[in-house]
């Protein structure tokens, strides 16, 4: 779990004048930026993730692709998805997108989870699973629009990328960011990452020689934005990047759960309580009737 470092000085002994930095607004939301256009698919981030999280070596099989395995796994949080895509002009794009938890502002997993404290969202935007509270129901898996959380059959717990909340809490960047040799991965405040991403996208759009008119930033508003954002060559076709949804949505059942079923349920429960209350007021307590004089212990 992360620990927030919020040591901001408020007062200083025998100090004249204002406290340096006072009144500064601390940008709390963090984000990871993946510039897909400068990723070379080296998978250093995959190795860094496995090593930092102390995950074991797992056997893989050749599957007609450079991609390590078909999807992320409960002990493989970070996967480069490779896809060969034909552009409209017939030329080929070999796309490589780093796939991992998107840390949604409106997290479907958290919305779906029925267990108190199994999933938390920090104020900095990181969505984290606490396996000790996980009951293994896997609702989070069906709640995720990106197919990220994965179930461990042995322990019956669900796992996913933590955005290295342990590292971020200690003021470090996530392990994948540290390992990236091309600098296609960035980490910082959401605001800064958006700024860098937008600047990069406009650079790609405006390139004099090889303009990419559809370059853009992936930060889907359908789920309130994400804390992992992408710069894509073609924002109109996110599906081409190993199935990135254009308009990710939390399954309606969970929306209904939160906005309809849950309030209604709560309303019914409240009504029940009120009924009990008014029954008490108007009818009064049920008075005890004479009972057989048998000891309680003997009954049990």
């Amino acid at each position: 779990m992360a620990t927030e470092q919020t040591l901001q000085i408020k007062e200083i002994s025998a100090h004249r004048g204002p406290v340096p930095g006072s009144g500064a607004v601390r940008e709390l939301e963090v984000a990871k930026l993946v510039d897909v256009t400068t990723c070379i698919g080296c998978k250093a981030c995959e190795v860094a993730c496995v090593e930092w999280n102390d995950h074991p070596f797992r056997e893989t099989v050749f599957d007609n692709t450079y991609q390590t395995m078909p999807t992320t796994e409960w002990n493989y949080y970070n996967l480069i998805k490779f896809s060969e895509t034909q552009r409209d002009d017939g030329s080929l794009m070999w796309l490589m997108r780093k796939d991992q938890c998107m840390h949604c502002a409106d997290p479907g997993c958290l919305r779906a989870c029925p267990s108190d404290g199994a999933i938390v969202q920090y104020t900095n935007g990181i969505v984290d699973f606490n396996q000790e509270n996980c009951i293994g129901c896997q609702y989070c898996i069906s709640g995720c629009p990106f197919n990220i959380p994965k179930f461990n059959q042995t322990t019956k717990k669900v796992h996913k990328c933590t955005l290295c909340s342990d590292r971020v809490g200690a003021g470090l960047e996530p392990a994948c960011i540290k390992a990236c040799p091309t600098g296609c991965l960035h980490f910082g405040t959401k605001q800064d990452m958006l700024q860098i991403a937008n600047a990069r996208a406009s650079q790609l759009r405006d390139d004099a020689l090889f303009p990419l008119p559809n370059a853009g930033v992936y930060d889907p508003q359908s789920i309130g934005g994400t804390h992992v954002i992408y710069v894509l060559h073609d924002i109109t076709k996110p599906e081409a990047y190993g199935g990135l949804p254009a308009n990710p949505r939390i399954p309606p059942s969970y929306v209904i759960w939160k906005y309809l079923a849950k309030p209604i349920g709560l309303f019914i429960a409240l009504m029940g309580l009120l009924a009990v209350f008014f029954h008490y007021i108007f009818t009064g307590p049920r008075l005890s009737q004479p009972e057989p004089t048998v000891e309680r212990e003997e009954q049990l």
């Binding site: 070379i40 698919g41 080296c42 998978k43 995959e46 190795v47 496995v50 090593e51 070596f57 797992r58 056997e59 893989t60 099989v61 050749f62 599957d63 007609n64 692709t65 450079y66 390590t68 060969e84 034909q86 080929l92 070999w94 020689l209």
Partner: protein, 671 residues
Amino acid sequence: MYQLLKRQYSRYTPRMVSSITGIPEADFIKAAELFTSIRNDGDMKKAATIIYAVGWTQHTFGTQIIRTAAILQLLLGNVGRAGGGVNALRGHSNIQGATDMGGVFDILPGYLKMPNPGDADFATYLKRITPTPSKPSEWDSYNYWSNTPKFAVSYLKAMFGDAAKKENDFAFHYLPKIDRRYSWVEMWDRMYKGEIKGHIAFGMNGVMIGPNSRKNIEALKKADWLVVCEIFPDETSEFWRAPGTSPEEMKEIKTAVYRLPGAGFAEKDGTFVNSARWLQWKYAAVAPPGQARVDQEILARIFLKIRELYAKEGGKFPDAILNASWSYSKPENPSLAEVAKEINGRALSDLTEDSQPGATIKTGQQLPGFAWLKDDGSTACGNWLYSGSWTEAGALMQRRGTDDPSGLGIFPSWGWSWPANRRVMYNRASCDPAGKPWDSERRQVWWNEAAHRWAGNDVPDFKADSPPQSHMGPFIMNPEGIGRIFAPLAAFAEGPFPEHYEPVESPIANPLHPKQSINPVIKLFNTDLDKYGTPEQGFNVVCTTYRLTEHYHYWTKNNPMNVQLVPEPFVEVPVELAREIGVEGGQKVRVSTARAQYVAKAMVTRRIKPMTIDGKTVYQIGVPIHWGYRGIAEDSGKTSLNPVNLLSPTAMDPNAYTPEYKGFLAKIEKA
């Protein structure tokens, strides 16, 4: 010269280039116009670089390609410029250092030429290797190689100490004199012929590297002994297990194999020298495990044992070994800091230097740079180019200063760059003839009239006080002082201008001159294992080999992390070709060349496209090189067990002796 150049390349029309390479004419013109556009309207401010991976060199015409790049950059004025040049992305972290230190058979440290049997004495040798200035009219010439005797004498003093005296030609005769080429391919050829009896493989997996691995495996069977220093058991140290060797045959193999446990890169300190010539010191992270030893300890113990044997038993020529300078505080395990200081060089008596008025250096002090080297035996220096890297001011190669005052990316206090901490060589060419930078916003060096000296953000690569009016040429290492668009006689095996040749095995005859399709000066080998295939024999698919980013040569297959990323070998096959031979991704294919067969799963891809070459549709396939018969996947029976280089031909560039891994002929079928 320009007229000759024009005539030479007038034959290379866009249509011809397209016919040879398969690149569509329009794409070629677009690329050519883009690259040359930096000089549009006479603009001299921009610079453009050419960065290549060493695949360019892995052809029988590799030097021709690099030369062409160099000529293009000279013509465009992209040499000596920040952001210009021809830059190799080398395949290993310290290839530059290995070359600088003479890790090639025909050079000594600092690119001094190797003596040959014709060098009767030191004077004859020096006369042969020291160029005399050849001035074009009106041009002055620095001809810096005129200092060769100083570099050579200082090198011999470092090698042989007090035994190197003026009276004995500074022990010149202790150096070996090479009578033939000892290049990689030729070495294995001679071992296969039974002429070379032993092989020391120090971090070199010769069986896997190839080319024509079968020949290397058979060569090792004929050797008397083999010493392998490695961090994992490898294919070379277990060549007797190569697929196709029967148990009976294994018993017949007499080669004695010694395996020495070496240390990995994180277990050793020392320097890496990168392609930009920066010496960067690194520290050992952990100690070598178990009985493993660092390289210098293994080499030192072998050396000391040999010296002991020579001292005890004599021998044909003990002097060179007995008199070799070995004055390290721990002779059996010299510290690399001591070695680095020895390479930098020191004064053997008190020194003064005309070009450094007022300065003196005391006996025993580290030299500040190669300007102080003498040819009278008063200085010792292991490699003149590295002089200045570890001075009285300390280990400059260990510096980690991150300031970049000029903003040009020079970082003058990060590590140390040869020569003289100069970051861009020939930087005089970044100025116009009057000594004014071509780009006033990115000033590398300039002529300071008031001080009557060259000044700069970088260290000027020029005679410091030679004014622009004397027209000294910027290419100070060439005796003529100018860039070599036209290479003088014998500089290259082929000729003064580069020419395109087809690979030894090619699907077409060279459209430029079909009767001389391949490089005319290459040596083809003629043992029973040196076979070359032709399209007529059915070998009509172009095969190339390469590395993957996920693996590093032949040892990451012992690391579970890398194995997990790419678990087994494969062959990349274009979609169209896969359809023709009826193969789907994941099914096995058999690749055959005139030399061997290789079976692995197919990766069917659209990334490798069919090419139209000389009017014919030509397919290309690609085979990553990483798997053999030792490693995690290999040991669990998951791979084909065959080294990929069983496929490649025994053919090499005649100048650099690099084998032709990047283009040969194959057949492919469903296995």
